[in-house]
Symmetry: D2
Subunit: 186 residues, 4 copies
């Protein structure tokens, strides 16, 4: 009865030999393959003190439009927790520079880390003084950027509130002082 079999590669895991019984089953596997996207996250060089932010930012950038922001925050927090333990075990200090890469897949809207593919490079400050210093500078610049973005965010929120107020006031003008068709009448 069995027509054929395939080696179906699970993302970031071992292959599994599947016995195919009918076209329907093939179709289901094909669908699943479409939904599971194998991807990679690379932190680039970053000071150990800033790895968590970097992981989150890069994850946001590479999953933009594919994953709900809340899931990105959750997945980043999960990985960062794991990395925190690992880096502590390795005796990494915050002034050292690290470079992290890990594979992951998006399954039904969820980010699934492939911890087996995790790779951490560590550069001690005393051995790579200039690299450490350069990344420290980058970090400082990003703090200044954060300040501007924070201010801009407040202004943008004020703008939204003000827009709503203006829209509401114009609506009042329309309801009580004009003969225009109202939205509620359409």
């Amino acid at each position: 009865m069995v027509l054929e079999w395939v080696d179906f590669p699970l993302p970031g895991g071992p292959k599994r030999r599947m016995f195919i019984f009918s076209p329907i089953v093939i179709y289901i596997f094909w669908l699943k393959y479409l939904l599971v996207m194998p991807m990679e996250l690379r932190s680039g060089y970053v000071r150990a003190s800033g790895y968590a932010n970097k992981i989150r930012k890069v994850l946001f950038a590479v999953t933009r439009g594919k994953v709900d922001p809340k899931e990105v925050v959750r997945a980043a927090a999960e990985l960062n927790q794991y990395l925190f333990e690992k880096l502590r075990e390795m005796g990494v200090r915050k002034e050292d520079v690290v470079r992290i890469s890990i594979g992951f897949s998006i399954e039904a809207g969820e980010i699934v880390w492939d911890y087996d593919s995790l790779r951490i490079e560590v550069y001690r400050r005393e051995e790579e003084e200039r690299l450490a210093q350069a990344m420290e500078e980058v970090e400082e610049r990003e703090k200044a950027l954060d300040e501007v973005i924070k201010e801009l965010e407040k202004l943008a929120e004020q703008l939204r509130a003000l827009s709503d107020e203006i829209v509401e006031k114009v609506e009042k003008l329309k309801q009580e002082h004009s003969g225009l068709k109202l939205r509620a009448e359409e």
Copy 2:
């Protein structure tokens, strides 16, 4: 067993003699009295051609904050339909001036017209030429006002859309380029 009775005035209707048996019953009547607000709508002088808009505007103004806008639109449409028939029966022409008043109550968020209290005054153009002319002028001015409000409404809607875009762009800036805490993390 009966302790006392009260004449409870139904809004816009006859009084009904109530026999009170207990404080509970009194409390229920008091509650109902709070929920049922007897009110009046007066159109003021208006050209017959513009009575419908006027009714709606005045209804919006007098029920502001008490009734859902959709219910105002519905109730105004109901009354205007009724008035349309009445004015036709009375042989009112669009160049005549009318003045309409009617009682209503708000019951559980709904506007209930008291048609028994409806009063319509009609002033024929040939007899009240100046009044008719004055109201025609008012109508024309309101058309000009409508134009400005329409333009302002378009601008306000553009503003809201633009605000949303700016907020979104700043959020992107924050997610991908900063170490700031995201809303989703809080």
Copy 3:
């Protein structure tokens, strides 16, 4: 030597017989005719208490795009001062209704009233009760409109200030955190 003559009508004044000597002179008269626009202002029916506002609003509407707003304010004030005296002389009370019309011309950006063409109609309240009452209602409605416009004006000014702040903040972002070409470099 004289080729022809024309009766040139001065705006709001007597005609003057002009002897034309050359095409240049004709051209000058034609130019002047273009610059001098004879126009009329009609207040429509209005309560005596509100004539000044009405005059100003109508003047703004009919001269829009042709005259500087400051000149409109000045010319309206001039006419209203004149009307104030006239209406007092005529014994008009604030509850009466008036209707005013006057010719004017725009000469080199200035509004010149033709006081000879001024026409004032007065309707006493006791004789035209309904007209007076209708105009009183209109006045009250306009006061409510004023309230909304005032609020909207405040919001619009806040919007302008906020926009400037956002533009400035984005400019700062650009200057200090990006490699984009600045306006000052173009």
Copy 4:
């Protein structure tokens, strides 16, 4: 006649012994000292390909509020031109990393470079592979940031234009449909 002398330090240059003749002269020197602010610009580590942008950004940040933006752009262009020649003479390639520092002063609103204090460090890619790679990553991230800022800038300009339109429309509403005092009347 000479009462005393001082060693006046010229910004970024040698001291000069000054003979003081009167309090007036002292006052003049004190004033000049206030107007001449000796400062320093440090590029930090940066890929040679991006030194010009970096110089400009840092100059904007350190002179913010003290110098006109146009002067900042001019002074940055002047220094960058000078650096371009220097780096070419030194055989620096765009993939190398450099670190530049130079003193300058602000005299009567103008940025004056103290070229004698210029210091350029060069790190060849082959010798500092990781540093070069890290700075390349930084550069790429900044390009992504530039994109978002560019979009945000466009939105901010649209916002400003829209705000102006709304303010104008509300002004029209006020002029032609309300009895409110106009700005021109105040």
